[in-house]
């Protein structure tokens, strides 16, 4: 009882502190100076129709590199721990078989999902989306394969090669920005092109393709190591 009373007092105190924020709230009418700079100079400097892409890939490209590194470390740790546990799991499978409807649907749906993922990260500079979202959609396509055919195996060598090559390509593109243009991940060493067409925005589509492949292969690695390794029934 006393405990609840103290809790209530704490809550009321919190509300008293925060209430002035709620009462005096006014929405942001004008852009702050940095956002204003991005909004005014972004299209001419970067050439991307989707301004979020311009910020994520070029102005704040280092943050994206950090995010990808974090995802890579997470995938590596999951793979490390689950590999060690899976080594002795060689017992016979008691899986219930997949229904024919799911198997038949997967033959139609898996290519469609991969196509949607490729559309999302190739069009990243024109429409919403980009490398991360496209990679997640690609990993969902792999998920569909695992669900429809649980005994299918993946080529781990190919996955790790794809991941390393795309990561190195991302860094090399960034360094090319230092050498040929004004800074790390500057995209203007390729022609900017016409605003709104697919071959525009300099190196952004290439950078996004490498990010998409990297994220997709990392998430695929996570899903594959979480999967129970079952034998054929």
């Amino acid at each position: 009882m006393i405990k609840k009373g103290i809790l209530l007092l704490i809550l009321v105190g919190f509300f008293a502190v925060i209430s002035s924020l709620i009462i005096n709230f006014t929405g942001n009418e004008a852009l702050n100076p940095m956002a204003k700079h991005y909004a005014e100079n972004g299209p001419s400097e970067v050439g991307a129709a989707n301004l979020v892409t311009a910020v994520v890939v070029t102005y704040r490209g280092l943050d994206t590199l950090g995010e990808i590194t974090i995802l890579f470390i997470a995938a590596a740790i999951i793979g490390f721990f689950l590999k060690a546990h899976n080594a002795d799991a060689d017992r016979p499978s008691r899986l219930r078989k997949t229904s024919e409807i799911l198997e038949t649907a997967s033959t139609l749906l898996v290519p469609t999902i991969f196509m949607l993922g490729a559309y999302i990260f190739i069009n990243g500079h024109l429409t919403p989306g980009g490398g991360f979202q496209g990679g997640a959609v690609m990993a969902s396509g792999v998920m569909m394969i695992i669900l429809a055919r649980p005994t299918s195996k993946f080529n781990h060598k190919l996955l790790s090669v794809l991941e390393s090559v795309s990561g190195v390509a991302f860094v090399i593109l960034g360094v090319l920005g230092v050498v040929l243009a004004s800074g790390f991940l500057n995209n203007s060493f390729l022609p900017l092109g016409e605003l709104g067409s697919i071959l525009s925005a300099g190196a952004i589509p290439i950078i996004y393709v490498s990010i998409g492949i990297k994220v997709g292969s990392e998430l695929t690695g996570i899903l594959d190591s979480l999967k129970e390794h079952q034998n054929e029934i």
Binding site: T112, Q133, L147
Partner: protein
Amino acid sequence: MVNTILIMAGVLMALGILLALFRFILGPDVTDRAIAFDVMTVSSISVIALIAYFAGRVIYLDVALVYGLLSFLSVVVIGRYIERGL
């Protein structure tokens, strides 16, 4: 005229989502809740399309595209987990 009809449609969609939410909270079993989740997902695709119409921006439909293709995967995973097939 057109806007009034579309606002009525939006209110009906919101009511449908509310009823599915009711089943989600009430549902005696996991499968009931999975079905309620499925209905909520499919209904929110049309809510997204309606928002895209009112905002007048075709790029919002990309999100509906992703939902239309990927939302069924989580329901399939729930089903395979329940029937011990995962």
